[in-house]
């Protein structure tokens, strides 16, 4: 057989490399989302300023924050590019579709979640831009969203959040997107672990269930906040 060496370029373009990189970036983003969710939940702390304190602490990390943000951006871009390439490849690989198609069940891990990864992904990508514009680049200290934390004037992100989630578009749009995130993770976490070869056959059903639980937890962890605010909480 031909002695073909694999370098990084051919690796990342190969069917194996694409899946492994998608898996690694996906898991990285999952980890971020999980931390983000935990941070959000500080909103429910009895200490009214806990959320602003958490936000402020993050903002004051300086260069470290920049590094993390650039890293996240890179992960997001790689994840998107590979996801789109895989999708286009899949379309090209079956030019004529079946008239009738259905899963046989059994060992199959095919689900609505697994078949809509590209669409939940695209929606999440668009949402991400919208979300960052709304909050990260939304109104800040200069616009009057100021609060005092330990004697220091900081951005009142809590107020911004409460105001935003009192609008029906945000209050219901966000939970819907978070449900889609849950779906994306439901297949994504399992798929990433399978791609990385971490799934032994005996563990497979367990990991598949755990992925579903994590997906659901993250979705719920995110979507309670907007709904809670909309229905009068946190005012």
């Amino acid at each position: 057989m031909a002695d073909k060496r694999v370098d990084l370029k051919s690796f990342s373009g190969s069917q194996v490399g694409k899946k492994i990189l998608t898996g690694i970036t996906g898991l990285g983003l999952t980890l971020f989302v999980l931390m983000h969710m935990v941070g959000n939940l500080s909103f429910f702390s009895p200490d009214e300023q806990a959320y602003n304190a958490y936000a402020h602490k993050l903002m004051s990390l300086g260069p470290l924050l920049w590094a993390v943000e650039i890293g996240l951006l890179a992960f997001v871009l790689v994840h998107i590019v590979l996801g789109v390439r895989i999708y286009l490849g899949k379309r090209a690989a079956r030019p004529v579709d079946y008239q009738t198609y259905r899963t046989v069940g059994g060992a199959s891990k095919q689900s609505v979640a697994s078949r809509t990864m590209i669409w939940t992904g695209v929606i999440l990508g668009v949402f991400l831009v919208f979300h960052i514009l709304s909050f990260k680049y939304g109104p800040g200290v200069d616009d009057g969203y100021v609060t005092t934390l330990n004697g220091e004037e900081v951005r009142d992100l809590r107020r911004l959040m409460v105001e935003k989630f009192q609008e029906p578009l945000y209050a219901f749009g966000y939970p819907i997107v978070m449900l889609l995130l849950g779906f994306h993770l439901r297949h994504g976490i399992w798929s990433a672990l399978q791609s990385l070869g971490a799934v032994k056959p005996a563990w497979s059903p367990v990991i598949y269930s755990v992925a579903a639980v994590i997906g659901a937890l993250i979705a719920i962890g995110f979507l309670v906040l907007p709904l809670w605010i909309f229905f009068g909480g946190g005012a």
Partner: protein, 252 residues
């Protein structure tokens, strides 16, 4: 004597690779439940022949689930509804009187239709030629018992070696990926000491060829495992990926 059934079929008819295809409706009366699915198609073809129509072409040979020739989408499922069953092993007792069954060929860019339900699976042969073997010339082998192989390694290798190359994995995969087929051969040979010396070259060559043939990427839907007549596990795909990473980043 079993009760005879009437079965309605919607069958994909396509005169040649370049011709337009369409569905045709047929009815097969007097279907015995003990008939195999292919025997039911035989009856249809006998009827078509006598009525002056061209029979429905489908590949078949051993009719006992081992040669991998047969393979059609039956009501949207590769090889039909039963686990670990090739089309030829499916029996009409799984259907009821009056049922309508939709029959389509495997659909993938890499498996172009030749006629009706017959497709060209030559890409599988090319993936095998790329590296699915052990380089040992006839006569150059040491005594068969010179290298003991742990029983569990052989048993696992066998599970992957059982692949019949039918293409159901590709047909059922939403992405038309050939990862299970390729992974099964990579895994079979990687698990045995005889296949180890060439494992890096093998996995690299086979994975490259698989992509060149126009199969899609694997998205871990695991539909392939569910439809595989031999029940080959997607662990084969995980093993293939591990082998590939080792080939890329392991010590040369």
């Amino acid at each position: 004597m079993s009760k005879l059934m009437t079965i309605h079929l919607k069958v994909w008819r396509q005169a040649s690779a370049t011709a337009e295809g369409r569905f045709a409706d047929y009815t097969v009366p007097n279907v015995n439940p003990h008939m195999s699915f292919l025997e039911m198609l035989d009856v249809l073809n006998e009827n078509l022949t006598l009525s002056g129509e061209d029979p429905v072409e489908f590949d078949h040979d051993c009719r006992e689930g081992i040669c991998g020739s047969c393979g059609i989408m039956i009501n949207g499922q590769a090889h039909g509804p039963n686990a670990r069953t090739a089309t030829c092993q499916l029996h009409m007792r799984d259907y009821s009187d009056g049922d309508t069954i939709v029959i389509e060929p495997w659909r993938a860019k890499a498996f172009p239709v030749i006629r009706d339900l017959v497709v060209d699976r030559a890409p599988f042969d090319r993936i095998m030629s790329a590296g699915g073997y052990v380089s040992v010339n006839s006569g150059a082998a040491p005594d068969a018992n010179a290298i003991p192989v742990p029983k569990n390694s052989v048993d696992e290798a066998f599970d992957y070696a059982a692949c019949i190359g039918c293409g159901a994995c590709v047909a059922a995969c939403p992405n038309s990926s050939a990862s299970l087929f390729t992974g099964a051969k990579v895994s079979h040979l990687a698990l045995l000491p005889q296949g180890s010396p060439e494992r890096k070259e093998r996995v690299t060559a086979m994975v490259t060829q698989m992509a060149e043939e126009g199969f899609g990427d694997c998205s871990n839907h695991a539909e392939c495992e569910a439809v595989c007549p031999k029940g080959i596990s997607i662990t084969a795909i995980a093993l293939m990926r591990r082998e590939y990473v080792k080939a890329a980043f392991g010590r040369q």
